[in-house]
């Protein structure tokens, strides 16, 4: 049953040094505030999972909190490469992270299989692709009816999933609308989950087939308006493209990165997020 907590409490109660954790969001609804709280609490030695690690994973890596990353596309969408990730993989700063690399299809299947309680995902993947030569977690099974060789990878079952959603109702049911990504699967595949939301409402009043996570599937709910910034929350605020472009420059050198993190993450609290979206609020008249 979901507990309503402050983000500070939710992170310290649910995430431990050495855990396997995912912060999911597919361009939309990326849980930035949660990642910053983890950085402030300096919870390290993490194995971080995400289909599309972008700015927050660059930050976690640059701050030295990451032991290993499982992923399928490490880029700053629409901008370029991830400079802190590259510095770690190419030069070992601040530490050389271990990587387990997959394709999007594989990761999506692995979350889906995790949510479905299966030990592995079976799909048609990696045909002729070299990742299967470098990733020992890509194996095969034979279809017992056609003899076709199919691909198998272990399902993803993180210790903790962080997601950001539009709404929770008073009971703790969570509503996600728009681009859904793999968030529902990530929560259902994980042992524990923390959901930050834009708003807490009396009733969700949602479409019968809308994506709703019942309260008993979630560990903690935190009211964090703006908690996805510079990602966006459909119906609330737009993507802050300028911030993504700026990140490329901020992350380009180690000192610049550290200074920015001190000023914008370590020395501030979760409340800064609601100021950051002020100029991005969705306006129906626009």
């Amino acid at each position: 049953m979901a507990e309503f907590l402050s983000l500070n409490e939710a992170v310290s109660e649910n995430l431990k040094e050495g855990d396997t954790v995912c912060f999911e969001g597919f361009t939309h609804l990326i849980p930035h505030a949660s990642a910053h709280e983890v950085i402030r609490q300096k919870i390290g030695n993490l194995t971080i999972i995400r289909m599309t690690p972008d700015v927050i994973y660059d930050q976690l890596i640059g701050m030295g909190l990451v032991k290993k990353m499982i992923f399928s596309y490490a880029g700053n969408p629409g901008v370029g490469l991830l400079r802190r990730f590259r510095d770690s993989v190419e030069k070992g700063w601040p530490n050389k992270i271990e990587i387990e690399e997959h394709s999007h299809s594989a990761m999506a299947h692995a979350y889906e299989a995790g949510a479905a309680g299966l030990p592995c995902a079976v799909f048609r993947g990696y045909l002729g692709a070299e990742l299967r030569e470098v990733n020992p977690n890509i194996k095969t099974v034979i279809c017992p009816f056609t003899g076709e060789e199919l691909t198998a990878i272990p399902s993803l079952k993180p210790d903790v999933a962080f997601i950001h959603a539009q709404k929770a109702d008073k009971k703790g049911n969570i509503l996600i609308e728009g681009i859904l990504g793999v968030q529902k699967e990530a929560v259902l595949a994980s042992k524990r989950s923390i959901v930050t939301v834009e708003e807490i409402v009396e009733n969700l009043n949602s479409h019968p087939n809308a994506t709703v996570l019942p309260d008993w599937t979630v560990s903690s709910i935190c009211h964090v308006p703006g908690g996805a910034h510079p990602s966006y929350a459909r119906g609330y605020y737009k993507r802050d493209n300028a911030s993504y472009i700026e990140w490329d420059k901020i992350a380009s050198d180690r000192d610049g990165f550290k200074n920015w993190m001190k000023e914008n993450v370590l020395d501030v609290g979760v409340e800064v997020f609601q100021n950051r979206i002020k100029n991005l609020i969705e306006n129906d008249n626009e």
């Binding site: 597919f26 361009t27 939309h28 289909m51 599309t52 992923f71 399928s72 596309y73 490490a74 880029g75 969408p77 629409g78 490469l81 991830l82 990730f85 590259r86 993989v89 190419e90 690399e101 394709s103 999007h104 299809s105 594989a106 999506a108 299947h109 979350y111 889906e112 799909f123 048609r124 993947g125 990696y126 045909l127 002729g128 692709a129 070299e130 990742l131 470098v134 076709e148 060789e149 728009g178 681009i179 859904l180 990504g181 793999v182 529902k184 699967e185 994506t211 966006y232 459909r234 737009k238 993507r239 802050d240 493209n241 300028a242 993504y244 100029n279 991005l280």
Partner: protein, 260 residues
């Protein structure tokens, strides 16, 4: 005829012409996205555009900066979870054209977007494959767009992120890959198609004003040309205006956001 256009514009417009109303395209960001939307706004209004964020049948009024922009969802027929996108729509064999870009490309349409150098100790760590490994095998055909360069079009790629025609000829079939694979390469200088037998990308049409030598000078392998080499028609006024209007709308929308 209009000669006042860039080679980038020519590339995007040439790619758009290859698309039809019946196509269901799995679209990547950048040149592919622009090409698909130009096709939609000109000769192929009924084309179906799918972005891997789960948005099916989108008709964005501006170009998305990422594959998960809000504009894609707002204009889509339906937005589905990402696992469904890869299971039912890509793996289900419903995509006619997968559009891919490349950091490195070889003559058989094999693509590297993973690393430069050695996988364990890369010189340059690139973003990785994303959707590409399965797009390359599940979409009926693959169209590739990239700007030509000696660094990009190479004799041997450093990593097989996604499989094109492998070593050529029937290599795909021998791996039980039953889709066509790369069937079109559109660069800023030319249009290429695979040789029917060897599957080597062979120049089919050179963009107006470009020479054979220029195409070779910007390609790291020894090029072959089809016998009846064609000349790519320059962009029409309509094509150029549609592309520029789209880019202008996109820029305006993005800058307005920052001005707020």
């Amino acid at each position: 005829m209009n000669s006042d256009y860039s080679s980038d514009e020519m590339m995007t417009i040439a790619a758009s012409r290859a698309l039809t109303n019946k196509d269901v395209c799995f679209v990547g960001i950048g040149a592919p996205s622009a090409a698909c939307n130009i096709a939609r706004l000109t000769h192929a209004p009924d084309i179906t555009l799918i972005y891997e964020s789960g948005t099916i049948g989108t008709a964005p009024n501006i170009l998305p900066l990422s594959i998960g922009d809000g504009e894609l969802c707002e204009t889509a027929i339906s937005t589905v979870p990402v696992p469904e996108m890869f299971r039912y729509w890509l793996q289900g064999g419903r995509i006619t054209i997968g559009f891919l870009g490349a950091a490195q490309l070889d003559k058989f349409g094999n693509i590297n977007t993973t690393i430069i150098g050695d996988y364990k100790n890369p010189k340059t760590r690139l973003p990785g494959g994303g959707g590409a490994p399965e797009i390359a095998s599940s979409a009926k055909q693959i169209y590739i767009t990239m700007k030509q360069s000696l660094r990009g079009m190479v004799e041997e790629i450093d990593f097989f992120t996604s499989f094109g025609h492998g070593d050529g000829s029937d290599h795909r079939k021998s791996l039980n890959i039953n889709t066509d694979g790369p069937s079109l390469l559109i660069t800023d200088l030319a249009i290429w198609k695979p040789d029917p037998i060897s599957k080597e990308f062979t120049v089919y049409s050179i963009h107006e004003g470009v020479t054979k030598q220029m195409v070779q000078d910007n390609c790291g392998w020894q090029i072959k040309f089809f016998e009846n080499l064609e000349v790519t028609k320059s962009p029409t006024e309509l094509e150029l205006k549609t592309l520029r209007d789209l880019k202008e709308r996109t820029q305006r929308a993005n800058s307005r956001k920052e001005d707020n």
